[in-house]
Symmetry: C2
């Protein structure tokens, strides 16, 4: 990845900080925009810094478009992992079988849980925990050095499963430490306070030192 | 703001966490989606949680659209404050007068700095620092409980001005503490390491305990 920048262009600095928070080190090309270098103007006729060239040769100009592009291509992939894949393989089947089916009328799909589905989801969650642990080897949070929607998404899905007592926390120490950290944020309190009549949470659910 | 949700819908939980991180407490309306409540289906014919109703009556469905909408309406306003307003009133004039004009040929606008412009920018930065301090009264970071692009944008612009020695840090203690925190992040190191030949940084520039 390349970044055409100037060391004193504040918009270039914003992009450098954003890349840094994601653990990405771009190749830096200094532009003195007043020289109107033809190669630079061919990249972006506006001739202002910053301009980023992604590793797939995509030219992305300006701080707002660059940060949106980074969110879109880097950040959202991880949020999608949890919102789509973890949901399909773990949180949706467990919540459906153990919670929703208790309240749904039979004609809407209610009834006793399907134990085969529950066993499959309990098996699936293990590789998701290891994936979280693997991501955390290189950074403080799932998508880099700052907490992003990827962390909130992963924690939201895991919290549903944790209520049901189906997170094997002994499987991955790094994932457990990460969850303890995110669980202690003020935004998490309303989720930890909720209980469902006739279905108390697992003992570790609201415990910040589980 | 209203949130139609279910306590065990992980996507609803993601939205609750995201709102919580922004310090927003929505009114919660529990939906049992399998009941297909007509009022809920009128809001969103897909009939799935979460659905958010913003305070301007905008109906926003689904976790991805909701988090994008929150970024767009809440987060980006603050980033824009620094990228547009702080830039126009402080960082652009100071960098132009004190840095760029040294290197630009006279026909491109180079020459000695205009002291009236510099004085105006130095006066403008004071109310921006107080604004930062005011934002931090209610939260840890500028847009809520987590570091966002608003913080990175503000810090990027301020860092240019700080190199030039033009940030009156004694004006606002909260803003100073915030900048010390963001300055100590690994992503900041490359910016603090840079120096310009013939134009050394202000003594406090790279100092983490300024």
């Amino acid at each position: 990845m390349q970044l055409h920048h100037h060391p004193f262009c504040p918009h270039s600095r914003l992009v450098r900080l954003s890349l840094g928070e994601m653990g990405i080190e771009p190749e830096l090309i200094e532009e003195r925009v007043w020289e109107r270098r033809p190669e630079f103007l061919r990249l972006d006729p506006a001739g202002t810094t910053p301009v980023m060239i992604d590793d797939n040769e995509m030219v992305v100009p300006g701080p707002v478009v660059i940060t949106e592009y980074l969110d879109e291509t880097r950040g959202r992939r991880l949020s999608g992992w949890f919102n789509d894949k973890f949901f399909a393989e773990v949180s949706e089947p467990l919540v459906r079988e153990k919670v929703y089916k208790r309240y749904m009328p039979r004609e809407a799909g209610g009834g006793p849980p399907d134990m085969a589905v529950i066993r499959a989801a309990r098996s699936n969650i293990r590789y998701h925990l290891h994936y979280i642990g693997w991501l955390l080897k290189a950074r403080n949070w799932l998508a880099g050095d700052r907490l992003t929607y990827a962390d909130l998404a992963a924690a939201a899905h895991i919290s549903c499963v944790d209520y049901l007592g189906d997170v094997p926390w002994n499987e991955d120490e790094a994932a457990k430490i990460w969850y303890a950290r995110i669980k202690s944020r003020p935004a998490f309190r309303p989720l930890l306070a909720l209980t469902m009549a006739g279905m108390p949470p697992a003992p570790c659910y609201a415990d910040l030192d589980f």
